[in-house]
């Protein structure tokens, strides 16, 4: 009986204390008619056997490929200290810090996380995380809906299609109107976004860098939104945010981000991290847990979960959100990553990735018939138009151990020839050389 410490004698003694004859007698409330029709599970396995089985499954995945996949999810280096600290049982095996006196470690770590992401994004307030970048965007839109009492959401088509499909799903039953403003060849169509905002619009949502990797300054757009009473929502990329003009500087009301790039492995899609920040006047609309600083009766500084009256366990059907569990340990990893890299380390990571992406773009654009999708500034990711179907090129390259990027035909109509290519600081110039040679050989 793995992980059950009872000896047979103890079991008998305990049953006697309870006053029943057998373990089975404890389940007398479940009538015979409700007992399982089957419970046909395999026999238990030893720890060794389970590990061997999972090692076998892990080997069935092919990860020793050169990959230029990104799309908002990037293979940045994870400092070893992140694993060391996040595996400490005091954090790993704690619950949500409802008992503040016994949870000052978690609470102060979250408070410092909130501080770090606010400084990174240049925003006033942060929560302790939501599930991922997409659910963060949805929650940001709902903040806007509550704050403005309006029901229309204007979304840039340059926003990740993954997030746009999530938004469409989440808003299905909510009597909200979702308006998508077409992109202008891999960049935001700012004038169209301005025109799309009306007096029923709650939120206007853009992403920087865009899904295509292009970089914008949305200051003027956000000013227009403000003039129309619309909440500006920006989805950011934390690593690049160390060098890019910030959401706060641009005047965003809510800034969210997928935090995966900060110390979280790609892990086939999760667990990731929804970073959520906002301006001070919107903080009461922000869902999820928030840590605040206070004092105890002796005047000692301490930290507590605060503004809980917004949350489901108190306000139930009228809560700002139904969120309960969040991604606290992922936020903790991001926090350690931000601390150990510091401003200089994070900026190096970003600048190196940007530099390598520009080298890759130059090499690819030099191939016959290949051009960049947008003539616009970009960061560590860019879209190229190939002279043939990008899916075919990817398939052929992949079979030779190199994934040259992500083909966009499935996400954007008319983009069957477009390939989205990402670099990180881990990408080598040699790998970029292979990329150019292999793609060139396919054309």
């Amino acid at each position: 009986m793995p992980y059950i410490p009872h000896t047979p004698e103890q079991t008998q003694e305990m049953l006697k204390v309870v006053g029943v004859a057998s373990l089975e007698a404890l389940f007398q409330d479940i009538p015979a008619s409700m007992r399982p029709r089957s419970f046909n599970l395999p026999d238990g396995m030893s720890e060794h056997a389970v590990c061997a089985r999972l090692e076998e499954l892990a080997r069935a995945n092919k990860t020793d490929v050169i990959s230029f996949l990104g799309g908002g999810f990037y293979d940045h280096h994870i400092p070893a200290i992140v694993d060391a600290l996040s595996s400490r049982g005091e954090f790993l095996t704690a619950y949500t810090p409802y008992q503040a006196e016994a949870s000052q470690g978690s609470l102060q770590a979250i408070f410092e996380y909130q501080t770090a992401v606010c400084r990174l994004l240049d925003m006033d307030c942060a929560n302790a995380s939501v599930y991922d970048g997409g659910s963060a965007l949805f929650e940001a839109c709902m903040m806007a809906v509550r704050a403005t009492k309006r029901s229309r959401l204007v979304v840039d088509e340059c926003l990740s299609p993954i997030y746009r499909t999530m938004l469409a799903t989440y808003t299905t039953n909510l009597q909200l109107e979702l308006v998508t403003v077409p992109h202008g060849g891999g960049v935001s169509n700012v004038q169209a976004l301005v025109d799309a905002m009306d007096d029923r619009t709650a939120a206007m949502v853009v992403q920087n860098p865009t899904f295509f990797g292009t970089i914008h300054d949305y200051t003027a757009l956000f000013a227009q939104a403000k003039a129309k009473g619309v909440v500006s929502v920006l989805a950011a990329y934390p690593v690049l945010q160390s060098i890019l003009k910030t959401p706060g500087q641009m005047g965003a009301d809510v800034a969210v981000a997928e935090g995966q790039s900060l110390g979280l492995p790609l892990s086939f899609g999760g667990p990731y991290l929804g970073i959520m920040t906002c301006s001070r006047d919107l903080v009461r609309q922000m869902p999820g847990r928030i840590v605040g600083r206070t004092v105890d009766h002796q005047g000692r500084t301490g930290y507590v979960l605060t503004l809980q009256a917004r949350e489901q366990h108190i306000r139930r059907a009228k809560a700002t959100s139904n969120i309960c569990s969040n991604q606290a340990l992922c936020a903790f990893r991001a926090y350690v990553t931000l601390c150990v890299l510091g401003p200089q380390g994070l900026a190096r990571m970003a600048e190196d990735a940007v530099d390598k992406a520009h080298y890759a773009a130059t090499r690819l654009a030099a191939l016959p018939g290949v051009r960049l999708l947008a003539d616009a500034p970009f960061g560590n990711e860019f879209a190229v138009v190939l002279p043939k179907n990008a899916h075919e090129v990817v398939d052929k390259c992949a079979s030779r151990g190199l994934v040259p990027g992500f083909p966009l035909g499935g996400y954007y109509a008319g983009m069957e020839h477009v390939l989205l290519v990402a670099c990180t600081e881990k990408t080598s110039r040699e790998q970029i050389g292979h990329l150019a040679e292999m793609v060139g050989g396919m054309l």
Binding site: R284, T306, Q308, A309, I314, R315
Partner: protein, 125 residues
């Protein structure tokens, strides 16, 4: 703690009629149930309110409660001080802790408000 010159609601708001205007707050009982208040959300001047419908909310650390308008009318004044000092509602619910002043439609409060005696009975239950 139930002043006899006020009218009350079943949801623990109080009303003081001053000519055709109603001053509204929450009762001593309501604030004592909620505990130390940390936040008050009130309608804006010019908003229309309807008897029995939500017009704001109050929060403490462990509870939140909606405030329901006792009357139909238009908000003519809001106690802006409460944004910074919600504790005024705890300390002086019928005075400094007043919330809004409403110009009552038709000049009269709607039926269904409780007298002090009726409200006292409600609390007994």
């Amino acid at each position: 703690m139930i002043p006899d010159d006020l009218l009350y609601t079943k949801t623990h708001e109080w009303v003081r009629m001053e000519d055709d205007e109603a001053v509204v707050g929450i009762t001593h009982f309501a604030q004592s149930q909620l505990g130390d208040l940390t936040f008050v959300e009130l309608p804006k001047v010019g908003d229309t309110v309807t008897a029995g419908e939500e017009m704001g909310s109050v929060e403490s650390v462990k509870a939140a409660s909606e405030i329901y308008s006792p009357v139909d009318g238009e908000v003519v004044a809001v106690n802006e001080e409460l944004a910074d000092t919600p504790e005024a509602i705890n300390e002086d619910p019928y005075g400094e802790g007043w919330m809004v002043r409403v110009r009552v439609t038709g000049g009269q409060p709607s039926d269904g408000l409780l007298t002090p005696e009726e409200y006292a009975e409600l609390l007994e239950e």
